[in-house]
Subunit: 251 residues, 2 copies
């Protein structure tokens, strides 16, 4: 599709720096972050996977996943109708309508919205802070993406558990300080954590994020990978992230 | 006490490389490992703490803790009567009978063995592998220290929860692959994980151990520290461990 027909005057188009992908974003709404990019490169995606991205926002995760494996059938679920409509136009802009479907719907109602549909991989970069913590943004779209206003960690994981069959994977990125909540909730939903990797701003700082992949009904045996550093000591992007942007993958 | 009166012909005396401390060990039984040394330097011990070390073995943790704070009153609990008696002689050998008490008893029976006694800090380097995993040693003393033959993770944490009042700390070292089990069991017993640090053999290897400190009835907010590396790339001890053995502390 021609860009001019798909992008509105108040929006901008950013490059995803992979496979020529472009993404439509609204300066007024929540922009995709490094977190989503890291998750899209951490999830163990295989050819012909059926993928569900919960809380998909601008669809950055399905767009990036489409460069990592072939024959994917992906769905992005987004509560915010305006964001979902914008995501749909990004899919069109990249000629990926045959493999990425955007659904405007509530993650708490997946049983109704997606009755009977099952996926081999679910990804989610959920809203981060538990209500009452952190500074709420005055902008509603920001508020929704940053806080558990509309959906809690438990509701997100419950939806993922419903959408996955035995052996299906859930890949998630979250704040490191919520690790106990995350592991407890995953275990409760029989989504056994199998791979985990902490993301540090740089060497000798506390972990800021955690990347985690669970397998439904798997036995307990967690591999904790070497940490991922975002920056070098001198402030430049770490070699691993430079490599990722150059087409490499995270472990 | 004179060493010759306290050490049996089939035992040996090792230096703990701190404060002139010595420890009696039997070559036939389980020797203390790096894990215990790391835990003794990770626990946040304060002057005048009352400390319980569960599964104390050779009492290496109480001995090392005695160099880190003043006015400590410590108890080491050990199921194996032979190990407990040997630990008691190590305490004597270091003239620490006034501050370290060794009790031969079952961690599963703390309510009976230690009725009414409460501690400000509990430390534990528990048996590691769940039953059925790993290669069982032919030696019983080895088997007990390495496997959950006599006590499970859940029983150890339950004992710690009983022995701590609100605000009391539990410092534990365990295998990283059990992280989910550990966090789930700690949360179940209202021992909220507050500090966590992974131990890697060296850079770019998976985590082998996890050091974790919980606070009873605290609010959820976990700090994940930068990783600890045991060795440098060239195989030498890491600078942080060299510093620890020279009198420094772990974070």
């Amino acid at each position: 599709m021609v860009q001019s027909e798909l992008v509105r005057p108040d929006e901008r188009v950013d490059s995803l720096e992979r496979g020529g992908l472009r993404i439509i974003q609204s300066p007024r709404a929540f922009s995709f972050s490094l977190d989503a990019v890291l998750l899209a490169h951490y999830a163990s995606v295989a050819n012909y996977d059926t993928v569900m991205d919960l809380c998909t926002g601008s669809a950055v995760i399905p767009l990036l996943l489409s460069t990592r494996a072939k024959g994917l059938k992906q769905v992005g679920l987004e509560l915010n109708a305006e964001a979902a409509e914008r995501a749909e136009r990004s899919v069109l802009l990249n000629n990926l309508t045959g493999s990425i479907e955007i659904i405007a719907g509530d993650v708490r109602k997946v049983k109704a919205v997606l009755r009977g549909r099952r996926f081999s991989l679910v990804t989610v970069n959920p809203p981060y802070l538990p209500l009452g913590q952190g500074v709420a943004s005055s902008c509603d779209a920001h508020r929704m993406a940053r806080h558990e206003v509309d959906v809690t960690l438990s509701e997100v994981v419950s939806a993922a558990a419903y959408l996955l069959a035995t052996g299906g994977r859930l890949a998630m990125v979250h704040r490191a300080f919520r690790l106990t909540d995350i592991l407890v909730v995953l275990r409760e939903h029989r989504l056994e954590p199998k791979r985990l990797r902490f993301v540090h701003h740089k060497v000798n700082t506390e972990a800021r994020l955690v990347l985690i992949e669970s397998v439904k009904d798997a036995k307990a045996d967690l591999k904790v990978a070497p940490p991922l550093y975002v920056h070098q000591e001198n402030g430049a992007l770490s070699l691993e992230l430079q490599e990722l942007y150059a087409g490499g993958e995270l472990r």
